[in-house]
């Protein structure tokens, strides 16, 4: 599991993921549930570093055909400084950045640094986000808009929150970029349901748990292919293109 995280990345790519989220492990993942916390704790305990992950991605960047998006917390951005951090992402071949504890109000410096480095800073929208804020977030988010499907942390849930459809519908009214639906989505049914409302679905913890449980890259690829099919099926019922967006455990293996 330690050494072959890149194999999982390529398995996901081969299975039809449209974009892949690269989690950079943080010691205090405030918005993540138990699966990501454990995974982060273990990775850090093993000596995994952000620099190491980016170096490995840099080395394989010619084989990557889908957008890679970094997902991490503010402190890892501010510690080196947003400008340095965004340049490092860009050099490693990443396309975007998501920082869940960096709301609009605090995002200015990172936005500027990202723009300067050619990194798309994707902002998040929650079910409780007001219309005014939503309008501004939609105006400033780059690459995607990330719809937090429910009030809670990341991690699998029994069913797609009813809040998901509502928030995505509100976002889509003002969005200029594709809307991804994330937080706690797992299984073909939920993926299909999320796909019916959004432009794409983020499946994070559910896949990570499979890896933690010992799935091989091949097995994980098969899972993602199944999700991809479910999403495509939902696509036929709905009107827009759908994106399968999988999170990989560069950080969280």
């Amino acid at each position: 599991m330690t050494e072959n995280w890149l194999e999982y990345l390529f398995a996901l790519q081969d299975a039809g993921a449209d974009a892949i989220e690269i989690g950079l492990p943080f010691s205090d993942p405030m918005l993540d549930g138990a699966t990501v916390q454990q995974s982060s704790d273990r990775a850090l305990a093993r000596g995994v570093t952000v620099a190491g992950i980016l170096r490995e991605l840099h080395d394989v960047r010619h084989r990557v055909r889908v957008p890679l998006i970094a997902f991490t917390y503010s402190n890892l951005v501010f510690r080196p400084g947003p400008a340095v951090f965004c340049r490092q992402l860009a050099e490693a071949g990443l396309r975007g950045l998501i920082v869940p504890d960096l709301p609009l109000d605090e995002a200015g410096e990172v936005e500027a640094a990202a723009a300067a480095a050619g990194i798309e800073l994707t902002l998040l929208v929650a079910p409780v986000t007001t219309d005014d804020r939503l309008a501004e977030i939609a105006a400033r988010s780059r690459g995607y808009l990330y719809a937090i499907s429910h009030m809670g942390t990341t991690g699998e849930r029994d069913s797609l929150a009813s809040s998901a459809a509502t928030v995505v519908a509100r976002i889509k009214r003002v969005a200029r970029v594709p809307v991804l639906v994330g937080f706690g989505i797992s299984g073909v049914e939920q993926v299909a349901a999320a796909g019916r409302v959004g432009d794409g679905v983020v499946v994070g913890s559910a896949l990570m748990r499979r890896v933690l449980d010992g799935a091989t890259p091949q097995q994980l690829g098969a899972e993602v292919a199944a999700l991809r099919s479910a999403l495509d099926a939902s696509d036929e019922e709905a009107s827009a293109d759908r994106t399968a967006y999988a999170e990989v455990s560069g950080d969280r293996r």
């Binding site: 943080f26 010691s27 205090d28 993942p29 405030m30 918005l31 549930g33 138990a34 916390q37 454990q38 704790d41 850090l44 570093t49 952000v50 620099a51 917390y73 503010s74 402190n75 890892l76 951005v77 501010f78 510690r79 080196p80 869940p100 504890d101 960096l102 709301p103 609009l104 109000d105 605090e106 902002l123 998040l124 929208v125 929650a126 079910p127 409780v128 986000t129 007001t130 804020r133 977030i137 937090i148 009030m151 809670g152 942390t153």
Partner: protein, 373 residues
């Protein structure tokens, strides 16, 4: 919420509206004489305020300074934490919340939060690191006796830092019904400001209790709420303000600017930004961060921050107990240890008049202290 380069509101979008509503509610309540008088009444007839300012006569004579102790150890539940929880508890009720969520390290804030919840008829859930639960059994029993649910936190260092993460996660999941009753002057705006305002009663009282402005005002600092409240009463005086950290959790001396738990402040961390685990005999100071206002006061030079080691702290508890008959908390003993170490040096010249806040009592630490006997 902003203190120079520090503070802010680095929280998930899901919490932004709640933080905004809380700031507005507190601003309105704090300006409302009815709210203020209800709080003042609880502080007086329930929590035992004002707490005395006790002259430490024998210890003063021994070390050659004039030491006065602000006795938060005498406040209900045994520490200054009660000041904050009563204020936030009343605010939560005013905002129509049904329950409170709290994080705790030594358990003093957890006990205080459970107390306020019981008094005001709110449910309480307290997150506490598994390691702290082991070393602060007494406070765990107190919380459950008060009817609170204590949830062990098993991630990370299993101490206050992780309990805070977990409490914030719980808040995200129940932001309508729950008030997050943060215990220190950290966290996103409005917490650092609100908690300091609720704790300034310490400093305001002490200021009224001294006959003239002291030369030095000293308090221990973990997150820093007792120090912030104490300093607030003396900010506009000539008194030097001294915060004393645990050597193993000295965010000011050994940390770097960072963003943890919703605010930018000084943080113990590695070169990439991974937050370090603190290590202190005092569970309440076993925290890698510090409130953003302290980071600011340190940056502009208004306050000085020093640190003391565990063995100095243990010796300080014992010396204060034997000379003044006061067993203070290991947290508070950091301030005492600094005074004992520096009395007579240029940092604390002979004859200095010193106000020291004893943030809490040491009953909870007897087992820890017994183990290092």
């Amino acid at each position: 919420g902003r203190f120079g380069d520090f503070g802010g509101r680095f929280v998930p979008e899901s919490l932004v509206p709640a933080c905004g509503a809380l700031a507005a509610a507190f601003r309105a309540a704090w300006a409302d004489p009815l709210f203020r008088s209800e709080l003042d009444d609880l502080l007086a007839v329930y929590a035992g305020r004002p707490t005395p300012l006790s002259p430490a006569r024998r210890l003063s004579a021994e070390v050659g300074i004039e030491l006065m102790l602000k006795r938060e150890d005498l406040a209900h539940t045994g520490s200054h934490k009660i000041n904050n929880v009563l204020g936030q508890g009343l605010l939560a009720r005013r905002m129509g919340k049904r329950r409170i969520i709290a994080e705790t390290g030594a358990g003093q804030h957890g006990v205080a939060a459970a107390t306020a919840a019981a008094l005001l008829g709110l449910e309480a859930t307290v997150y506490m690191g598994e390691r702290d639960i082991e070393r602060q059994q007494l406070n765990v029993l107190r919380m459950t006796t008060l009817g609170a649910r204590v949830v062990p936190v098993t991630t990370g260092s299993r101490t206050l830092k992780d309990a805070t993460n977990e409490a914030m996660r719980a808040w995200v999941a129940d932001v309508d019904e729950a008030h997050f009753l943060l215990g220190s002057v950290g966290g996103p705006h409005p917490y650092p400001w609100m908690v300091r305002e609720l704790q300034r009663v310490i400093g305001d009282e002490a200021r009224r209790q001294v006959t003239r402005v002291p030369d030095v005002v000293v308090a221990c600092v973990g997150g820093g709420s007792n120090a912030a409240g104490t300093f607030a009463g003396f900010a506009d005086t000539s008194a030097r303000l001294i915060g004393v950290e645990a050597a193993g959790g000295a965010a000011m001396s050994s940390g770097a600017p960072g963003v943890v738990h919703g605010a930018r402040s000084m943080v113990l961390q590695d070169a990439e930004g991974q937050v370090a685990e603190a290590a202190s005999i005092a569970a309440g100071l076993d925290y890698p961060g510090i409130g953003p206002e302290h980071a600011h006061l340190g940056a502009i030079g208004r306050a000085e921050y020093h640190s003391v080691k565990d063995d100095e702290v243990v010796a300080a508890v014992r010396r204060l107990a034997r000379t003044e008959g006061i067993i203070c908390a290991l947290e508070s003993a950091h301030a005492v240890a600094w005074v004992l170490r520096e009395a007579g040096t240029p940092l604390l010249p002979t004859g200095s008049r010193v106000v020291l806040t004893l943030s809490g009592r040491g009953d909870k630490d007897m087992a820890t202290l017994g183990a290092v006997a």
